[in-house]
Point group: C2
Chain length 229, copies 2
DNA sequence: TATATTAGCGTCACTTTAACGCTAAGTAAC
DNA sequence: GTTACTTAGCGTTAAAGTGACGCTAATATA
């Protein structure tokens, strides 16, 4: 057996799929790379783990220094280890995804990138590395998770209407959900709490404003998509 | 920015939660360590990634060389990165779980371990490292997954009776499931195929033998546990 | 032949679900 | 004001799914 320190180790990085929802569109944040490899191409934000950091620390550092975001929903996704995934050498990436409300942050391209931009998940450019694959795993995870666990409110303002929540679900799942059945399920599950106030200034009837119920017990609801059948 | 090779890297390992089902008991395979750290204590099998390997390769190498197993169901679980999880230094472990049919393999302790043994998941000894935690994540994953995806047959012989499958579910989920309703769900979902043969040599009525239906379309069934309600 | 036990099939009340109708509340046009 | 239009909120119903459980068949053994 080799001594402990004799093992060669691959580099360890995190890659981030940052989802945002705005104007009825689900978007992902992409970085245009300033340096090789994949110079001038779009990729997911990511970075190398430093020895004293946890993976979550690394993600938070990247979110903060490259994108100016903090205190966002963040979850580990999967670890990507294809030997050829990075042309610089062996790099293993622990994929994560984050859900953020774009209206809360002013995105700035750090010094590392030419540009940082939101892209509609339906119209992504070509991505460097294996980032297309990581993105697809993340989108799939988000879609499954939202069916049985309340992650949607991470993407909305603190107060929102049922219609707004409904549109978010339809957008993420890319399917139509009956408006009235959706309302019933969400309310029966006590997923959200009526604040008693209404959203003013709209053209038609003023909808009631809700907020997320943090006391929600797990497994209390399940949304079916038409494809379930 | 540092040059690529200047980053220090933690060691990368895999840890394996190997589930087996035998005599109406769900078990996990544990190794008794020959060396420090955690000498003479029980731990999950695991090992370091070698530079030319994928994570799956590493898992398969360990399964084969330490345990004599090959071609088993194997799935990545989660990546565990607590900085203090290994007293030797910074080791990040990618947890995996495997499902095997113990009757297919003769387990042998490799030269690395004092002993290798199956332990009933209900009566585990103390485990070294953070392996108790990894085990719990794996068990939870197995329990959720079996509700909507057919993994059970990995633990059974190729031909099995509905009663055997039913007992497996009750054992993994640690709950009673109505025998007749279970049968109806499994059959309605076309989860299994009747082979037309029967298991002989039993004391009472001879049950029909089934095998897994590999054509099963996803999302075609869902088992409810009493706690769902 | 009777008994005990597991296997397989069926029934029913209750709950959940999908589809969709109807009215209320608001704005804008006249 | 009145009418038209649109979104919001509430309700209804038929069909499907679910849980609880009864009944009979098949087999070994006493």
């Amino acid at each position: 057996m080799k001594a402990f320190h004799e093992y060669k180790n691959p580099s360890l990085a995190v890659d981030l799929v940052v989802f945002g929802y705005h104007n009825n569109t689900l978007s992902v944040l992409l970085l245009n790379r300033k340096d090789e490899p994949y110079k001038d191409q779009w990729t997911l934000p990511g970075g190398f783990l430093q020895m004293e950091e946890t993976l979550r620390d690394t993600c938070e550092r990247i979110l903060y220094t490259k994108l100016g975001m903090n205190k966002v929903f963040l979850e580990q996704l999967y670890t990507f280890d294809e030997p050829e995934r990075d042309p610089r050498g062996r790099v293993i990436a622990v994929g994560h995804y984050a859900l953020i409300n774009p209206s809360k942050f002013q995105i700035v391209a750090g010094t590392m990138a030419n540009d940082v931009k939101w892209f509609n998940v339906k119209h992504l450019p070509a991505l460097g590395f294996d980032h297309k694959h990581i993105f697809q795993v993340a989108l799939q995870r988000l879609r499954s998770k939202i069916l049985y666990y309340p992650v949607g409110f991470e993407l909305l303002d603190e107060l929102f209407t049922i219609t707004e929540l409904h549109e978010l679900y339809e957008c993420i799942l890319e399917t139509k959900l009956d408006r009235r059945n959706f309302r019933r399920k969400i309310l029966d599950a006590a997923y959200i709490i009526n604040t008693g106030t209404k959203r003013e200034g709209l053209k038609n009837r003023h909808p009631e404003l809700y907020r997320f119920n943090k006391q929600l017990k797990k497994n209390s609801f399940h949304i079916n998509t038409p494809e379930d059948e």
